[in-house]
Amino acid sequence: MRDRIPTPSPPAPSRRRVLRGGIALGAAGAAALTASGCGSTLAQGFTGGAPSPSRLNFWNPFTGGDGERMLAMQDAYRAAHRSTELKSATFLWGNPYYTKLTLSTLGDRPPQVAVVHLSKLPTLAEAGLLTELRTDDLARHGLTEDKFDARPWRKSQFGGAPHAVPLDTHPFVLFFRTDIAEKAGLLDGQGQLVDVDGPDAFIDALRAAKEVTGAWGGSIASVKEASMQFRLFWSLYRQVGGGDLVADQGKRVVVDTAAAAEALAYIRRLSQEKVIPANTDGKGAITLLTTGKAGFLMDGVWQALAVRSAKVKFDMRPLPRIFKDAPYACAADSHALVLPKAPDEKAQRLDLSLGFIASMLHSSKLWAEGGHVPAWLPTQRSRAYKELVPQSHYATAADGAVYDPAAWYGGAGSTMQNVVGDAVTSVFTGETSPTAGAARLRRDLRTLASRPAPV
């Protein structure tokens, strides 16, 4: 009878066998790491060794349309530098990207080249995370001051020395539907938008567009987009002549509350006169334009591709000059290429890195097609760029570019953008009065400034 025979239980694995198995596994793992050689980024991360001399690690935060262009620019580099092994990594834009960049640099495993926003440069440089660049090193690769747009170049300096090579300027601009503008009688004989500068002229233009669309005159993101409200405020506040918001790397608050209240009062007018909806998110703002429910859109130039993909007739121009108290101003930022501080020169590979940066700048035309105004003057002044439409129509906005105030809590996607943007939104939606909004803004900035700086 079968069931009488007791089935032998499998012998318990002896400790020695378990140990032997473990060692074998570990050895196999180590072999796998060494087999793929020091060429493997993973292995390099574990062993801490420098990557092979021909390898160049490059980090960027570009996805979508910008990402496609960045890949094309990398292909151009690869085609010309076959001996270099370019490894590029793309991370999600914003804080996740900066967190990774910071931690990898602190952990002595930074990429050789990385993209940063110039508004973030003061904080990163002050924290000692960037390699200071020498002008003669840059000149060896043809990167001299006279070939760069003055504003981003100046912003690339920290403590009197260049710390980044600017790639572009991306200002906050005005999009408009040419078909709606035409019906609203806002186009002149050459098909150009008539003068929309000045507080009343702009609202009149929005109102004319509203009559055509039957819904709204223009749109701007407000829900979930504190940074867009910050850009609107920062542009107008500078046009009023309000100057800076903070000084001493953010340790002192110097906001001019009267100027802030004036700018906020105008922002409130836009929603109060019902020419712009008070509650729209980023995608909704674009959709209002592309579906013909709004004739104008205030947004960043990087949305040019998104609007173009909707296949509607549109054009772009610099943000209107609403106030004439100070030189023209519009909020802007720049992408720039930096060398995160490497543990030693061998890991830095200065000339290889600078050669790559030079190649990126030579591809500026590709980059400009994505909407950004090139910082590389040979491209910005080229006929090919001047023929790019609508890109060339707003290139002058870069002359009025104002960067975010320098502070450890400022810059792209920062707490300052959120705090100021929230205060602006509450005025824009009518929750708060302009004067109360300005007072709140000052109070919130003071709270931020009083905190211990992490740099």
């Binding site: 318990a12 996740p96 910071t102 924290a127 829900v223 979930k224 909704g284 959709t287 429910k293 959120n418």
Partner: protein, 302 residues
């Protein structure tokens, strides 16, 4: 014929180590990825630890704690989190119980209701957020159109109005996560013996009385479990809020976890963020302990 005999147990040494040996890999993970970071969090809370600098930074003593406890934003995010917890826990417990009772009554097609109510739960938070951002969208969204149907001329801006934003997110969360509680209740219902139903029916109890006086009390333990799990999950809310409103409008939906994320990763103040997370940990622990104590007392009394 040779008799087969079972091999005598070779040694008790191997047996003794088998259990701990099997546990070892998990224990290591637990130490490295849970206990370790927890200790680091506690330590970092006493220092001005920065994301932009290596090391722990300057010793801060209790200054992070006094700063957090005096920070209006900390209390506001905590209030927001508790408000979200109330808005989600109450309907998620009551509604899932009601739905489970109803679905349980179907004999034919029960699988369909089980599937229908559980299906949203398998969606990733990103999908749910995107879906509801379309639904709640201003000017173009479904929710505004639907309200207009009922005769409301100016529908609220679901995600843009500080009074409505949290409620809208809570409603989306209820739709999304109700399936989990629903399944727990269905399992609890299977444990109610048929005889109890029959005995109650013989004693003259109608369907409603049977649910009220027999089924719901017998589901007491399930309700405790569901509520505690739900409270803890709601107190830890982050993803859907972060994706749908990013804490806005005007900070009205900013959760405690987002405050930790913002101060730790956006501003790079790891010491401060550690303190906030430790305090949130204490809050969650206290809420759970108080709840368990209340339930235990109620169980003793009955």
């Amino acid at each position: 014929m040779a008799t087969t005999t079972a091999p005598t147990p070779t040694s008790s040494r191997g047996d003794r180590w088998a259990g701990p040996g099997m546990l070892l890999p998990f224990a290591l993970f637990y130490l490295v990825f849970l206990v370790g970071p927890l200790i680091y969090t506690v330590v970092a809370g006493f220092f001005e630890t920065s994301l932009l600098k290596s090391g722990l930074g300057d010793f801060a003593g209790l200054s992070n704690y006094t700063a957090v406890l005096g920070d209006a934003e900390f209390w506001r995010t905590l209030r927001n989190t508790l408000w979200f917890t109330v808005l989600t826990t109450v309907p998620l417990v009551l509604l899932s119980l009601a739905l489970a009772l109803l679905a349980d009554r179907f004999v034919r097609g029960r699988w369909f209701f089980r599937f229908a109510f559980f299906a949203p739960f398998v969606l990733p938070s990103a999908v749910v957020s995107l879906l509801f951002m379309f639904i709640y969208a201003d000017q173009l969204g479904l929710a505004q159109e639907a309200v207009k149907w009922f005769g409301v001329d100016t529908p609220p801006s679901w995600l843009g109005d500080p009074d409505w934003a949290m409620i809208s997110i809570a409603a989306a969360t209820v739709w999304w996560t109700i399936g989990f509680n629903f399944v727990l209740y269905l399992a609890g219902l299977q444990d109610v013996p048929r005889e109890v139903h029959e005995a109650a029916a013989i004693d003259g109890a109608g369907p409603w009385q049977r649910i009220r006086h027999v089924v719901v009390p017998m589901l007491g333990r399930t309700t405790t479990l569901v509520t505690v799990l739900q409270v803890i999950a709601s107190l830890k809310v982050f993803d859907q809020i972060y994706m749908m409103t990013a804490g806005g409008p005007d900070g009205s939906t900013r959760s405690s976890l987002q405050l930790i994320y913002d101060t730790g990763f956006v501003e790079g103040r790891v010491g401060y963020a550690s303190t906030v997370s430790l305090l949130l940990f204490v809050v969650i622990l206290l809420v759970s302990l108080v709840w368990f104590a209340l339930v235990r007392r109620a169980e003793k009394e009955s």
